[in-house]
């Protein structure tokens, strides 16, 4: 039994990160119908900028804040320079643009910083905590709590604030939102900033556990994308459930079947879900307009 609990705990930790990445996908997808493959790069930037700011002598919380703000700025620039000019482009073009952006960001990071693997200290020590025969790192608790906090804040934002509702309205129907006076360009910029900030935040939380380097973004983007699809693209609740489910599945596969094939198990389950429920677990059933 402690074994199962151990796998569950590590699965939830990784899953929380996937959920945050998936959430980033969801926010941008809702605002602009774009799946942003550079999402993993935001996580990478969060970790990398924090490390280098911290190494330059900035206290860790301030370094993290700088990283989150800088990454949000990168998100805004990405939207302004690459996504907005390409409005109305077919899905294939948008996929290439955002993959191009992710390769570009990776190349730039490698130039500005370096190609080494980095970590910074965990927020509250590395002494594992014992729970029912299994152990969990304090940093894992930070990751899980951080993910839950982000979801709670977003829920408040979308249900309790005017601008949050404006984002929902834009997601629902762009033209109608414009007609009632919502500045949809502003909403898109905001979505990119939020999504990048959330990604960077995830990077800050998880780097002490998983380490970071200029090329960790791709794997995270694929997992986050898969999690978002599993939950149903465009649904924040789906992102949370999809991310956690994916993390747990991976941990179970690694523990009970084969650690080499943990990624395979995740994709097989996703394929199965897509075949049975093409819209994902929580996706809206869409009908084609002719």
């Amino acid at each position: 039994m402690p074994e199962l609990l151990q796998f569950l705990l590590s699965g939830i930790t990784v899953g929380a990160v996937y959920a945050l990445v998936a959430l980033g996908f969801t926010i941008i997808y809702n605002a602009s119908d774009v799946v942003n493959f550079a999402q993993g790069e935001f996580v990478m930037l969060g970790g990398m900028i924090t490390f280098f700011a911290h190494a330059a002598g900035v206290p860790l919380p301030l370094a993290a804040l700088i990283a989150i703000i800088a990454t949000a700025a990168v998100g805004v620039v990405l939207n302004k320079l690459a996504i907005e000019p390409a409005r109305g482009a077919p899905v294939v073009s948008l996929i290439i643009i955002t993959i191009g952006a992710s390769i570009f960001i990776r190349g730039a990071t490698q130039l500005v910083f370096d190609k080494q693997i980095h970590r910074f200290p965990a927020f509250s020590g590395d002494q594992p905590i014992l729970i029912g025969g299994a152990t969990i790192l304090p940093q894992s608790l930070w990751v899980i709590a951080g993910a839950l906090a982000v979801f709670f804040c977003l829920w408040l934002f979308f249900t309790r604030t005017l601008i949050g509702r404006a984002v929902l309205a834009t997601a629902n129907n762009r033209v109608a939102a414009q007609l009632v006076g919502i500045n949809t360009n502003y909403v898109m910029t905001l979505s990119f900033a939020m999504s990048a900030a959330i990604g960077a935040f995830a990077g800050v939380l998880v780097t002490p556990i998983t380490l970071t380097s200029y090329d960790v973004g791709l794997a995270l983007a694929l997992k986050g994308f898969a999690a978002a699809m599993l939950g149903g693209m465009g649904n924040p609740k789906g992102a949370l459930v999809g991310g956690l489910l994916l993390g747990i599945l991976e941990a179970m596969t690694a523990g009970y079947i084969s650690s080499q094939y943990k990624d395979a198990a995740a994709f097989i389950i996703i394929l199965a879900v897509l075949f049975a429920m093409p819209q994902g677990l929580f996706g809206r059933k869409s009908t084609d307009r002719v």
């Binding site: 993959i99 992710s102 190349g107 730039a108 395979a264 097989i268 093409p278």
Partner: protein
């Protein structure tokens, strides 16, 4: 007399392949040329899938991997000649594409992207993890094709790089010819119809699911043969051939040059194959430049390089 687009395309392609070596200062250029043709073949397959049928696949490197490893494994374990091994790989890819394509192609847009991506990742994972069979990440050796020796016996003595330049160039012309024929065939028209509007295609009686599957299987065979050629000319293969980035490169080459045009897509393959070679001098900047090129072309030349340029020239002439 006006030549048909099909004849013009094939003529241009064959002429460039035949004349380019005159300007090659070293055998290294033959090597880059054959890499371009091998990529061009995979990309021609994707023109059928993306350009004609309007479907995306982010997992086509998986089929290249199947083709490549068939050439490495079948001679060792089944005692097949490498050429037959390549054929076996193509058949295997077709069969797998048929089985996987059925459920996958029901999905659209991003969902199709993630499903095909999942497939590609599974293949590359098997290739790198089944080390006792495939040599794992270290890769494995591939036997000699043997055609060069045959040519030598009949008096045609080509260096290894020259032979592969000529042979993969020939394969590319054949591949392009078949793809262009398909474009003008009833199947090609059906594919273009479902690209325009699936619903409209269905109402005029096109079996949409069937034709999507045809495009998927054909493009898989192209990718598989491209993988086989790469394995045979390098005489060595690693799981990189099936990696996600290779799938992305293939799609980018296709869309960069122009997914709707065979010649355009091959141009895209030429650019993206040459770029890293040129950029080795600026190795630090390679990723930066690659990403930038991908974004700029997709933002400012949505149909791809060749169709955009062609339109501009035509516009000026009128």
């Amino acid at each position: 007399m006006r030549l048909s687009t099909k004849a013009t395309t094939l003529l241009i392609l064959a002429a460039v392949i035949a004349i380019a070596p005159v300007f090659f200062p070293s055998s290294y250029y033959f090597r880059v040329g054959s890499l371009i043709f091998v990529n061009g073949l995979a990309v021609t397959g994707l023109v059928i899938l993306i350009g004609y049928a309007g479907q995306i696949s982010l997992g086509h490197a998986g089929f290249a991997g199947i083709g490549a490893y068939s050439c490495a494994l079948a001679p060792v374990h089944l005692g097949l000649h490498p050429a037959l091994a390549a054929l076996l790989g193509a058949l295997l890819s077709a069969a797998i594409a048929y089985l996987v394509g059925r459920p996958i192609l029901r999905l659209k847009g991003y969902y199709l992207a993630v499903a095909s991506l999942g497939f590609g990742i599974l293949v590359s994972m098997v290739l790198s993890n089944e080390a006792q069979l495939t040599g794992g990440p270290d890769g494995m050796a591939v036997p000699e094709l043997g055609l060069r020796a045959v040519l030598k016996a009949i008096g045609l003595d080509l260096s290894n790089t020259e032979f592969w330049y000529a042979f993969s160039g020939l394969m590319l012309v054949i591949g392009a010819w078949l793809a262009l024929n398909l474009y003008h065939s009833p199947t090609g028209r059906a594919l273009r119809a479902l690209h325009g509007s699936e619903v409209a295609a269905r109402t005029v009686g096109v079996d949409v699911a069937h034709y999507k599957l045809v495009a998927f299987v054909l493009s898989a065979v192209y990718a598989s043969i491209s993988g086989s050629l790469l394995a045979l000319q390098n005489k060595f293969i690693t799981p990189d051939v099936a990696a996600f980035m290779h799938s992305i490169e293939m799609v980018t080459m296709t869309v960069l040059g122009g997914a709707g045009s065979v010649l355009g897509a091959i141009l895209g393959a030429a650019i993206l194959t040459t770029l890293p070679q040129v950029l080795t001098i600026f190795q630090e900047y390679e990723q930066l430049m690659l990403g930038l090129v991908m974004m700029l072309v997709m933002i400012f030349m949505r149909e791809g390089l060749l169709p955009s340029i062609a339109r501009r020239i035509r516009g000026r002439a009128e």
